[in-house]
Symmetry: D2
Subunit: 160 residues, 4 copies
């Protein structure tokens, strides 16, 4: 049995705030569902807010959900995470969230999300913005809808 | 849909040298197959030798195989890795291999494996040795066979 | 002999691009000199451009200069670095540049600098901007001159 | 002013347990004093036990003492540390303790020390043992006295 490595599922990171913001989190849930429906793996920070909503969406479509956690306990992961990865690196884990992915979708977001977007651009991982806040005005590609964001991210992932 | 987080698949790290050592690698392949057969996720360093043999075994049993890579490219992963995770941290990724796991099985091994065993003990991740070399003489639990190693690792993972 | 730990020298990180930009680098050199003249330790990424100019300024005033390097070799450090610290973590070292500091001065800068500014804000390290580019428009404190930037950074460092 | 980078002070890491073991810690204090007397910089984990004793020795001889801390606060450093470096990486900082050094002296020690010795060997940093415990039996160079350990470490650092 040989796996065609070009056939590995695309890994898409979804970044966003850990806060309870219904509209942004609804977008994140749709993004997660689309990633899983397209056969992708969801990478995220594993906690609440956008991370939890995206994982819920992906899990509802039967997808694999990876939580790259800042702390040392797998129990910190939200309940939609299949594969919790406790890094013990605090916010230093942000670079891993983006390195682990073929493309990044940043939804809304604050300082943590901005750091992930900047790190992704620095190391050459494609970024798509959705409903940008702090990340607006940086000249990055912006999607109109959750579906558009996932389509753009998958296209960028494929062309790497 | 709510996932019972206690039902998450156990994550078992397999550590060992990246070299071509037929007997040790045959053990690693059996360990990988047993982990997957028991419904576990294989975590490893993603490269050759014991890492590749364990991933091949797990993949042959339909399991999820995670490669925690030292470099920055997913292409460094051996072909049996489903989920390549390029850390860009060099040997600093060794602490992630063990942190990501519920229990560690060290097969043979040299300095890198010894560092993973020592880090696991330091942070409280259970370790089982199989065919130990540098790791012998440290007072750690030792398994007789590949099957025994996996049974012990799964039991230790469950009791955490 | 007991050291009064409140008397430890303040550690000020200077972040900026590794490129050859004469005006920005002249600012960085003055910032470095001011930090050392005030008894501070310069933390930077250890490479060229703003990092090298700041280190040259600090070294010319007899200060300690720390280079938090992305690679694995101390030889990567510019020649004004007294204490090269090769992390082997690539861009993942950016979080260390800011964590190691009591306050951060960001001069000009591109994606790497933006990631350091965002990480600093996320983890609560004070940030002062000087001649901001990508970092403009984020609502952060902005200094008028090199001297002003160092005065603000030292005041912020003291009040932590 | 040009610094001859070959004239940078050698950076010697001292690793050992964070526990209160009078004999071992007395050795560590002598090692720290010798490093500083020879113009070297002491790198250590910044906490108690061997780390504190080595830092006290180095500080008593006027040396620079660097504490590579697991936590996020500089306040965790023992009072003999001049330059506290909070990594926020937990035990993941062990790889940085050794990477930051030209050579490593391991005094006594438990799992954490063993991990540092193994990581150092894996990445090619010279190691000298003094009063080894868990690190015994690995075929590594062993010094007879504190002075001998520092002499060997400085020689190894120079020849890199």
């Amino acid at each position: 049995m040989t796996m065609d490595t070009t056939a590995r599922p695309p890994r898409i990171a979804v970044c966003g705030a850990g806060t309870d913001a219904p509209e942004v989190n609804a977008l994140a849930e749709r993004v997660g569902r689309e990633i899983a429906s397209a056969g992708g793996v969801l990478i995220c920070g594993g906690l609440g807010g956008v991370m939890e909503a995206a994982a819920r969406g992906a899990a509802s479509a039967g997808g694999l959900t990876v939580g790259v956690l800042p702390g040392t306990s797998a129990r910190d992961a939200n309940r939609w995470i299949t594969l919790p990865l406790p890094t013990g690196m605090g916010e230093g884990r942000n670079v891993l969230v983006v390195r682990f992915a073929d493309a990044v979708i940043a939804i809304g977001g604050e300082w943590g999300t901005l750091s992930e977007v900047a790190l992704a651009r620095k190391i050459g991982i494609p970024v798509v913005l959705l409903a940008p806040t702090l990340t607006r005005g940086l000249g990055l590609e912006e999607a109109d809808t959750a579906e558009d964001a996932v389509r753009r991210a998958l296209a960028a992932a494929k062309s790497r």
